[in-house]
């Protein structure tokens, strides 16, 4: 079997993975990125509306600075984030965006003079100043005090990813695309690389690396309905959890985006509401100002999604063969604005709904969108539990998002964390050598080969696709936006049964080469373990915080739950082992009111 040596192995070639790779390559190290798909098809490309960075160039962002960005981020997280990390993030975002500009991202710019904009349904006027002309501009997003989301029309992630990959090509970062890491090679203390399956040929390889990075994105596809790309199945989190020594942080913190379209669950950007779009109910009435007088449609995502759900539960949703939904109205923004600033939305509406958003309402409802939880790291991106293992981006729980991520903060995280973790990785590579233990490598290769052989020759068990669908339905039914003890109990019980099925599958194909049935079969039990981390973590967290909303514990409880869940899964267990650590060591802003969402708080002093 093939063995490949490298200094840095990045598992994932989206924005975060490539940004780390570039930093290591520029320091002179050999760097290989693995990717399930060609690098430029990574899910980063689907981020639409913008990247938050406190530049304060546009007039509605006047007076913005990293302090305000930091405060918005902490409030957005419902005080679940690590404040030291949120501070590092906000301080570095302006630098990171300017570097992306230097590398070639065509950011939209400030155009001086008077122009119209919409807030809610209302038409207003602003005047951009002459001295900021040609600097990077920004649009409004939810949960922010200033217009801070910098953008390229609504293809921001695409433009950033293409630029990032072009710099990766420039610096000779290798991308081994259509490969999937099946396990990490480790001795319980240090990571030595990964065992990887080629998705072109089915070949198994070992990559031996002095440093390994997990930057494989989120795991939204454990849900049946998700805005995520089909590749977001949690591969990186699975191989970390499988080590038994690496914890996943806050897996119960799952974000539902207010505007997934119905049907198909494709995202339309928060920029629609940022630019003045409104949400309407079955009576074509605007309802958000009623629930959130201050922020209306531009409260944080967790809050807007909850309010939408609440409103539909009152019978005010629009009935459809695909279930209830609400309307997103951007008609008043005008055809010209939509064609220039909301191009993807325009295309998505035309191609997937057959409607023209300048004339028709867009059917939307809250849809699984983002994983705040992930591979737990320290502030340098070093993973808990294994030396030589790092993580960045959505795959990681670095933890600047806590229990709710603000729109535009994920693109920003990928390039800020990528830059900073990249520096740390380069420093690690300067200092740290490794003795290669060939028995360890061969042992892990053999273990994975055996898994493949067993699966291919299995004569009894269920079909992988059926078991996956069952897992997805359980999460949809019992681990959604509003949660309670009874449902979560049921979810955990049912998922444990599904786990047994997932560990005993039978293929109906021969599983030859890059067979997709075999690929799913190999990752399915891991996906169910992630699902159990989500459901069990949610069951145990007896409070409501950000996106984790418990009907039976509606208050945010800072007295007992200002903590981060750490889920470990040592071999042979039926459930993860949960531990807790303080949400933040540094407290710049003590827990308080968010200013939206109207949630009761049990204070730490009570």
């Amino acid at each position: 079997m093939r063995i490949i040596y490298t200094d840095l192995l990045c598992i994932g070639a989206g924005l975060a993975g490539e940004r780390v790779a570039i930093e290591a390559a520029r320091a002179g190290f050999e760097t290989i990125c693995l990717s399930l798909v060609p690098a430029r098809r990574s899910h980063s490309s689907a981020a639409q509306g913008g990247m938050q960075a406190a530049l304060g160039n546009c007039i509605k962002g006047d007076g913005d600075c990293p302090d305000v960005h930091f405060q918005d981020t902490v409030k957005g997280s419902d005080w679940g984030c690590d404040q030291e990390v949120a501070r590092i993030f906000a301080d570095n975002a302006p630098l990171a965006i300017r570097q992306m500009d230097h590398w070639g991202v065509p950011w939209n710019r400030v155009v001086p003079g008077r122009s119209c904009y919409y807030k809610g349904g209302e038409k207003l006027e602003k005047e951009e100043s002459e001295d900021k002309s040609g600097l990077i501009t920004a649009r409004d997003f939810g949960g922010t005090a200033k217009w801070r989301a910098c953008y390229c029309s609504d293809g921001t992630g695409h433009a950033m990813l293409y630029t990032m990959d072009s710099v990766a090509v420039q610096h000779g970062v290798q991308v081994h695309d259509r490969t999937e890491a099946l396990s990490l090679i480790h001795d319980g203390e240090r990571c030595h690389g990964a065992v990887v399956r080629c998705l072109k040929t089915g070949e198994l390889r070992a990559y031996i690396s002095r440093a390994t990075l997990i930057a494989s994105g989120g795991f939204g596809r454990i849900y049946r309905a998700s805005t995520n790309a089909v590749i977001n199945e949690g591969g990186g989190q699975i191989i970390a959890l499988d080590t038994g020594v690496v914890p996943l942080g806050n897996m119960e913190a799952v974000q539902f985006h207010p505007t997934g379209i119905v049907p198909t669950d494709i995202l339309v950007t928060e920029g629609c509401r940022g630019d003045g779009g409104t949400l309407l109910d079955a009576n074509l009435e605007r309802f958000m100002p009623h629930y959130e007088p201050e922020k209306a449609e531009l409260a944080s995502r967790d809050v807007v999604s909850r309010r939408m759900q609440e409103h539909m539960a009152k019978g005010l949703g629009v009935k459809s063969p695909y279930g209830d939904h609400l309307w997103l109205d951007i008609r008043h923004l005008g055809r010209e604005h939509i064609a220039a600033k909301l191009r993807e939305v325009n295309e998505i509406c035309k191609n997937f709904l057959g409607i023209d958003p300048a004339e028709s309402l867009i059917p939307v409802r809250p849809t699984q969108h983002y994983s705040m939880g992930g591979v737990r790291t320290d502030k340098d991106g070093a993973v808990y539990g294994l030396k030589g293992l790092f993580s960045a981006g959505e795959a990681a729980c670095w933890d600047m998002h806590g229990f709710n991520r603000l729109g535009g903060n994920s693109l920003a995280e990928t390039v800020v964390a990528g830059m900073l973790v990249g520096r740390r990785v380069a420093g690690f590579l300067q200092e740290e050598d490794m003795k290669v233990d060939t028995a360890l490598v061969r042992g892990e290769l053999k273990k994975q080969q055996e898994r493949i052989d067993i699966l291919r020759s299995s004569t009894s068990g269920e079909a992988p696709f059926e078991v996956r669908n069952r897992m997805q339905d359980i999460l949809m039914d019992y681990v959604g936006i509003f949660r309670n003890e009874k449902d979560l109990h049921l979810a955990v019980e049912k998922l444990q049964q599904v786990l047994l099925s997932a560990e005993n599958l039978k293929l109906s194909s021969r599983g030859a080469g890059a067979c997709p049935e075999l690929s799913l079969g190999l990752r399915l039990s891991g996906m169910v373990r992630l699902a159990l981390c989500v459901a069990f973590g949610a069951l145990e967290r007896r409070e409501s915080r950000g996106s984790h909303a418990r009907d039976d514990y509606p208050a945010r409880n800072d007295r007992d739950w200002l903590v981060r869940t750490l889920a470990f899964w040592p071999g042979g267990r039926a459930l993860p082992r949960l531990e807790y650590e303080p949400a933040t060591k540094v407290v710049e802003i003590p827990p308080g009111e968010r200013g939206y969402g109207g949630c009761e708080v049990i204070s730490a002093e009570s």
């Binding site: 490309s45 070639g104 089915g202 191009r343 696709f465």
Partner: protein, 248 residues
């Protein structure tokens, strides 16, 4: 009454001994709003779990799912069965190495293209972390973004007669990409340097002007204009190279 659709799909798994290339038929009842993303996944889940195809974002953003649908290169995720007759013929995109069935290796092709084009900003200026960004006119930014929207799906290559005849032809995606860098004031390359890259038969002079690329581009990129623009620019540069006194 829902239509009964017949999918005739190209099958071949080079990794499986005994597999030989051929067409295989699958039947599916049409449902409302059915598109090829849903249809192909249904076929895989219920009829043949070994069927290979590529989807990623399934929203027309990532470019993974280009294939030849009833004779025309298109994005499968965006194609509704209602637009097609009852018999739907699916073939892998030509011009790329076959991985299996409908799946082709676009990643290696485009990586190689981007390496040959040296498609990154060329500048001697170092990034100054303490300085504000260099100003740019918003209109220029929007013009660059217009061309930057290419998703490297490969439809233009699949529809290109030159690319089918010579495997080293870089195609419309490459010419559009280089036009994007020509537009960008941050890229300091001269026309002479661009000429070194695309002033060849593998580049702009290999184009026969059939413009199948323009017809099939799912992002409606202005490929016809860009091919003409790059050709004109490089033609003038060619003259300049041999007649030093020639001015544009």
């Amino acid at each position: 009454m829902n239509r009964k659709l017949t999918f005739s799909i190209f099958r071949y798994n080079p990794q499986e001994t005994g597999s030989s290339p051929g067409m295989r038929e699958f039947r599916l009842e049409e449902t409302e709003n059915l598109n090829l993303f849903v249809a192909l996944n249904l076929i895989r889940e219920t009829q043949d779990p070994s069927l290979q195809f590529d989807f990623c974002c399934r929203a027309g953003i990532c470019g993974a799912c280009a294939m030849v649908i009833n004779g025309r290169p298109r994005l499968a995720c965006r194609t509704k069965t209602a637009e097609l007759p009852e018999k739907i013929v699916l073939m892998p995109l030509p011009g790329f190495r076959l991985v299996g069935d409908l799946s082709v290796d676009t990643g290696a092709w485009f990586r190689s293209m981007n390496e040959r084009l040296r498609s990154w900003i060329h500048t001697d200026e170092n990034f100054d972390p303490d300085a504000p960004e260099v100003v740019m006119d918003n209109q220029v930014a929007e013009e660059i973004y217009e061309l930057d929207r290419c998703i490297e799906c490969g439809c233009c290559i699949g529809a290109c007669a030159t690319a089918q005849m010579r495997s080293d032809f870089m195609g419309a995606a490459a010419m559009n990409r280089i036009a994007r860098f020509m537009l960008d004031p941050r890229d300091k390359r001269t026309n002479r340097e661009f000429f070194e890259i695309v002033g060849t038969d593998q580049g702009i002079f290999g184009c026969m002007g059939l413009l199948g690329c323009h017809d099939v581009c799912p992002k409606n990129l202005p490929l016809q204009d860009q091919l003409a623009h790059v050709r004109r620019k490089m033609g003038r540069q060619a003259l300049k190279n041999i007649l030093p006194w020639y001015k544009n």
